[in-house]
Amino acid sequence: MRALQGLRGRRAPSLPLLLLGLLAAVRRSLEDGLSTAAPFTSLPVQEEMTTKYSNLSLESHSISMTEHSNMPVEKNITLERPSNVELTCQFTTSGDLNSVNVTWKKGDKLLEDNYVVNATGSILYTQYRVAVINSKQMGNYSCFFGEKKQQKGTFNLKVPEINGKNKPLITYVGDSVVLMCKCQDCLPLNWTWYSGNGSVQVAIGVPVNDKYVISGKHANETGLKITQLSEDDQGTYWCHAIFELGESEGHVKLIVLSYLVPLKAFCAIAAEVVLLVAIILLFEMYTQKKKKPSDDGKELEQGEQLKLDDSNGIENSGPRHRKNESVGQ
């Protein structure tokens, strides 16, 4: 009882002290808030967010700049599933660090909280934390240093890219083809296919029929099988991969030729070959005909010479006869 009374008693005189302390703290916090609003007010929010999404993985990325950087520095970050993201910008300058103004922007919108600034030595660090849970948090986050000569660093948060095919697929009328889209290291939630005519995209496979079959052996790839191809099926086909954080697309170009296209080339070349053969054989017949009359002429000469030789002697006709034979060939 005496303890309780003592407590009550002790409390009563310390109440004004508490109030004073509270006022001082509030004032201090207000002062602190005025000078560096970010570190103070962001801290409780950060803690709240990290406790809410502490089961998500953490991704940390950083870029560094100097005051003399000519080109804006960019970093591409690929995110597939919801995670906590820490973006750090380092700024090295020879001047006074405290006078450098630090701001963060998402796209064009200025960000008020969720970031801290501190300086060690001659490097200024600023870190932005965001819990990326849906597509609204994706986009470009930029950190800005300085007022007059602003240095900008950008983090591009994107969903993974899809690989379609760069070369067009060539098929023939009546064939069937499988169009493939693949994602290297990611597992989309779902795949959808669209056929494109210009900028308009029409969904495929919504009425399930025999012509289009969507399948995929693994989760990171999808295949659209088209049967009974016709020339109307030509064009670009788009595959959309759906993630929790957004959509990504790839495209495959399909060309459908008719059999007549190579067949015409084949017939042209075959006709050329027939022409060549005809020319060669006709040339040979022509030269042989040319030889034959001359052969007759030579044979006549041989006959006359033989007659002459006969008068000289039979032995001369032998070698000459052989020589004429070889010449005649």
């Binding site: 070369k167 075959a270 054989l281 060939q329």
Partner: protein
């Protein structure tokens, strides 16, 4: 019909060289560049690469084993109708292949049909060319065989372009049209009647007399041994370089360098074979021994410069031995029996060719590097050159007695060995 006493050594013979040039391009250039199609077949038929590569193996095997048929028919009917028929068969095979719906169709159409078409074209043409030339035979053969190397350079990009624009069905259709030019090449092969033709008789008689001819048999054994070792570097060089740590691009570039020096070697050796007096077999032994030594040195070379130098030397010497190998045959058996002789030699040496690469692969699997493979290849080549020493007139220093009159008298004993095209194929 009047028979020539001597080979023309020129004149229409150069048209035959042109025909042989295009034929070696259309047969072996197409075979070598077919790898471009294989990639498409793997995706189109969803079969593993090993099964797809059987297409080329069947084609080569049919071409080599069918050579005696081609040469026997040429002896009977002359080269022209046989080659033209072969061209039509080869083109037909490719045409049917463009409609294929399974890999078996390709085995039958490209492997069997086109392969037999090729069997009917190449051997008779080479034999025909050997008949047209005697003094400049090696040069003619060397020039004709350059078609193989040059076409490999041209056809691989051409086939890729065809595939990009027409897909594999249309591309096969156009390769079939390309192969139709074999018919035009066949039309160029004007028949030549040489003095010893009536003496040597029909194909059956020729083959039996060839099989009893000692030098021909020894020559066939030598060429089989040479063929066993010949292909191994072409098949395994890139893999060997990758084992040593080379990147893929410089490795295949080195293979192209070997192909260029192979081309130079063929022409140079062809010219040399005619310029140097005495039996051509000696030059063949020289080139074969050099190639064998170079192959045996491969495991020793580790530095890039050493490997490049060895590869250039290998390309030159292995290219050099091809035209000379073909020229020895007419000297051995005479030009009358050359069709049948060439066919027989091709068939037997193809066994060496078919065994060489798998044997080398097996050795590599057992010893885990290519040292044993290269040394064994070199050993086969040296053994082959050793057998060559046993050929007649080897140690003579005068011009070989290959005059037609002598050949007529020897015709009943000698058989005409045909150039091994096996050495030209890859």
């Amino acid at each position: 019909m009047a028979y020539r006493a001597e080979a023309p050594d020129g004149g229409w013979g150069w048209m035959v060289v042109l025909s042989a040039f295009f034929q070696s391009a259309l047969v072996f250039g197409v075979l070598r560049s077919f790898g471009v199609f294989f990639v498409e077949f793997v995706t189109a038929f969803e079969e593993p690469a090993a099964r797809v590569s059987w297409i080329a193996s069947i084609g080569i095997a049919v071409q080599q084993f069918g050579s005696p048929v081609g040469s026997a028919l040429s002896t009977k009917f002359g080269p022209r109708p046989v080659v033209m028929t072969g061209g039509i068969l080869a083109a037909l095979g490719m045409l049917l292949a463009s409609f294929a719906t399974s890999l078996t169709h390709l085995y039958l159409s490209i492997g069997l049909l086109s392969g037999s078409g090729w069997a009917l074209t190449f051997t008779p043409t080479l034999a025909c060319m050997s008949r047209y030339f005697s003094r400049r035979r090696s040069l003619a053969i060397g020039l004709a065989l350059t078609g193989v190397g040059l076409s490999s350079f041209a056809f691989a990009p051409l086939f890729q372009w065809l595939l990009n624009h027409y897909a594999w069905r249309g591309a096969l259709l156009l390769v079939s049209a390309l192969s139709l030019h074999l018919v035009a090449c066949g039309a160029l092969l004007r028949p030549l009647s040489l003095a010893e033709d009536p003496v040597v008789g029909g194909p059956g008689a020729q083959i039996t007399s060839l099989l009893r001819h000692g030098p021909f048999l020894r020559y066939t054994v030598a060429l089989t041994l040479i063929n066993t070792g010949y292909f191994i570097p072409y098949v395994h060089l890139v893999a060997h370089l990758r084992d040593l740590g080379w990147d893929p691009l410089p490795s295949s570039f080195l293979l192209s360098v070997a192909a260029i020096s192979d081309l130079v070697g063929r022409v140079a050796s062809g010219w040399l074979g005619d310029a140097v007096p005495g039996p051509v077999a000696r030059l063949l032994m020289l080139w074969t021994t050099l190639t064998g030594v170079i192959l045996a040195l491969y495991p020793v070379a580790e530095t890039p410069t050493g490997l490049v130098a060895l590869t250039v030397a290998y390309g030159f010497t292995s290219g050099a031995l091809t035209p000379v190998a073909f020229s020895v045959l007419p000297e051995l058996v005479g030009t009358g029996k050359i069709y049948c002789g060439l066919g027989l030699v091709q068939m037997v040496e193809s066994i060496g060719g078919l065994l060489g690469a798998p044997l080398s692969g097996y050795l590599r699997d057992v010893t885990s590097n290519y040292t044993a493979s290269f040394v064994v290849a070199g050993a086969f080549l040296l053994a082959g050159s050793g057998v060559l020493i046993t050929l007649p007139h080897f140690f003579c220093f005068s011009a070989p007695a290959s005059k037609p009159q002598d050949l007529v008298t020897e015709a009943l004993d000698t058989k005409v060995p045909l150039p091994e095209e096996g050495l030209g194929e890859d």
